[in-house]
């Protein structure tokens, strides 16, 4: 197990190295010039050249990337071009908000998705089942911003139950978390449904029923814990999907997380911040996948990974 974890961690390191290289390369070759953004339109060619030299952007690609990587190995993610602050500081300031939103979003999608899945499995083939499965299709077909705007319109503008946007109180968290929860619930509902159906067919469930246990007890104490296991392994993979979606949801609700940081940086071609957020997101994605892989044998000891 320890050797396996070590090998996977080395793989994670290599993947992050690759992500950093590709992102750096793309930002280097693309026709976006950060110096123009910093200097402004009226800058003289001399000023532009000075800034370029100061930031080391006049160096060849290999030197620039080498410097970045060298800094990264020492925990230095560079400085923002426009905000004149360390990228690490900026990200650390924003990360708690994003993690809070992510945790609340995952909790929301588990509650909504698992409930839908269990109900659909128990009333399999009935109208409730098809209705819920149709709903799950709708949630996976909806773009984040549409759901976000819809919730915002109904619950903040019309009903006034929650603030329109911002950060600080638990009330601010409800709508963004619910948006992410609704969007992610469809997949969980479908996995939970098929897992539950499979478990309900198992011999031990029949045995439990045969020895006279109440149906509700069999479902809650015997079927549910077993059916939930495969769903839990999904959470790791889900983290990756979250990291992508967070840009839009944070934008709509004015949530001050790393998604907003990235969006502002992209508009101003602030390369160190874009690099930093991409790497942090990639880190979350690979660690999430690793977690999912490592959890599988813990959940079901019959499965051993190589």
């Amino acid at each position: 197990m320890a050797a396996l974890v070590l090998r996977r961690l080395i793989q994670v390191g290599l993947i992050l190295l690759g992500v950093s290289f590709i992102t750096f390369f793309l930002l280097y070759v693309l026709p976006a010039d950060p110096v123009r953004q910093i200097a402004g339109r009226s800058a003289t060619p001399q000023t532009v050249a000075n800034i370029r030299e100061q930031l080391g952007l006049d160096q060849p690609f290999v030197v620039q990337y080498g410097r970045y990587l060298f800094g990264l190995l020492q925990g230095d993610m560079g400085r923002s071009y426009l905000q004149k602050t360390d990228v690490a500081t900026l990200i650390m300031a924003r990360l708690p908000a994003s993690l809070l939103l992510m945790a609340a979003g995952i909790a929301a999608e588990l509650v909504i998705g698992l409930t839908m899945g269990v109900i659909a499995a128990l009333w399999r083939g009935r109208a409730v089942d098809s209705g819920l499965m149709m709903t799950s299709f709708v949630t996976v077909s909806a773009p984040q911003f549409v759901v976000a705007l819809l919730l915002l319109y109904i619950f903040a503008v019309k009903l006034g139950w929650f603030p329109i946007g911002g950060y600080g109180t638990p009330a601010h968290l409800v709508l963004p978390a619910l948006t992410l929860g609704i969007l992610g619930s469809g997949w969980y509902a479908r996995i939970m449904r098929s897992s539950m159906i499979e478990v309900l067919r198992a011999d031990f469930i029949r045995t439990a029923r045969a020895k006279g246990l109440a149906r509700s007890r069999v479902i809650l104490r015997h079927a549910l814990p077993n059916a939930i296991l495969p769903v839990i392994a999904m959470i790791g993979i889900d983290i990756g999907i979250f990291m992508g979606g967070i840009v839009v949801v944070e934008g709509v609700f004015g949530w001050p997380g790393i998604g907003q940081l990235a969006w502002q940086a992209i508009q101003r071609v602030d390369i160190p911040i874009i690099m930093g957020v991409t790497l942090v997101s990639a880190c979350a994605i690979v660690l999430g996948n690793l977690l999912a892989d490592l959890m599988v044998p813990l959940i079901d000891p019959r499965i051993r990974i190589r």
Binding site: I15, T23, S141, L149, I266, V277
Partner: protein
């Protein structure tokens, strides 16, 4: 022989598809939307770019739906229905094109890696793993924002972040096929690599490609809508469902229909392809048959 089997398989698969209510519903929606997009010049009541003199209220605000403008007007006094119909063209063109490119890249990488294995396969699949670790939406936003996007660039950017799933599925399937006896037999008979790949392996992959191609259209349509909503996708005045929402967002509170009608259209389009794709997967993928 193969052709006969393939046609028989296809027609029976189609019949089984038609027996599913959800798939039928999805198919009807697809036909409706594609039809509306193709017929847009004939059925659109107005020119989607025309800013009507009477298209704004006295205070310069968009008009709610009425008899003249069936779905109301947008912030520049243009007819929303006409813009939606033409927007369907943009969304579908990008969806189909981006998805086509993604499918092609994914299939090529998957087949090559799956058939040749060895160092080439390893390199390709490690690269695919690498792409899996990218925050796709972030990458797409970043690329789209940097290239002042045209429709083609938006489609290309979407394709670049969307081929990975296909590559992995095709890789797994090709690896399994390449190890089968009939492929070894072909090789012994002296068939060329090209012949084995195109005549024997590719036809077996067609169902997978159809399934992922259908499901992929919803993914690409959603991604296009998101990019356009953020203002880095299709640029106004060309209408796309995402940028209609982007343009009119300032009127979100006073004219919510400008946001929710296009939003509804996006959901319906993505839903339609998801329903058809999911049913196709059940019908075409023998490993899943009877599991539901």
């Amino acid at each position: 022989m193969t052709a006969v089997l393939a046609t028989r398989g296809a027609s029976s698969a189609f019949k089984r598809l038609l027996q599913r209510k959800m798939a039928l519903f999805g198919l009807a929606l697809v036909v409706l939307i594609v039809g509306a997009a193709i017929l847009a010049p004939m059925i659109a009541p107005y020119d989607p770019y025309e800013q009507h003199f009477d298209g704004l209220s006295l205070y310069g605000e968009p008009l709610p739906p009425d008899a003249t403008y069936l779905l109301g007007t947008d912030l520049l006094g243009r007819d929303l229905l006409s813009r939606l119909l033409y927007g369907a063209r943009t969304s579908l063109i990008i969806g189909v094109m981006a998805n086509g490119i993604a499918l092609m890249i994914g299939t090529m990488i998957g087949i090559t890696a799956g058939y040749f294995q060895g160092w080439l396969g390893s390199v390709l699949m490690r690269f695919t793993d690498l792409m899996m670790a990218f925050p796709a939406l972030l990458l797409a936003i970043c690329l789209a924002a940097i290239f002042q996007p045209s429709i083609w660039i938006v489609a290309f950017v979407i394709a670049l972040v969307n081929w990975v799933q296909t590559a992995r599925v095709i890789y797994t399937e090709t690896s399994a096929l390449a190890a089968r006896d009939f492929i070894a037999a072909e090789r012994t008979l002296g068939a060329s690599t090209a012949r084995i790949l195109f005549r024997h392996i590719l036809p077996h992959l067609v169902p997978l490609i159809i399934v992922w191609g259908t499901l992929g259209i919803s993914t690409t349509v959603l991604l296009e809508a998101t990019l356009s909503y953020l203002g880095v996708g299709v640029q106004p005045p060309t209408p796309s469902w995402g940028n209609i929402i982007f343009e009119n967002q300032t009127y979100f509170q006073s004219a919510p229909w400008l946001v929710f009608i296009p939003g509804f259209a996006i959901v319906v389009l993505a839903l339609a392809f998801n329903l058809v794709g999911d049913a196709l997967r059940d019908v075409l993928d023998p490993t899943l048959r009877g599991s539901d």
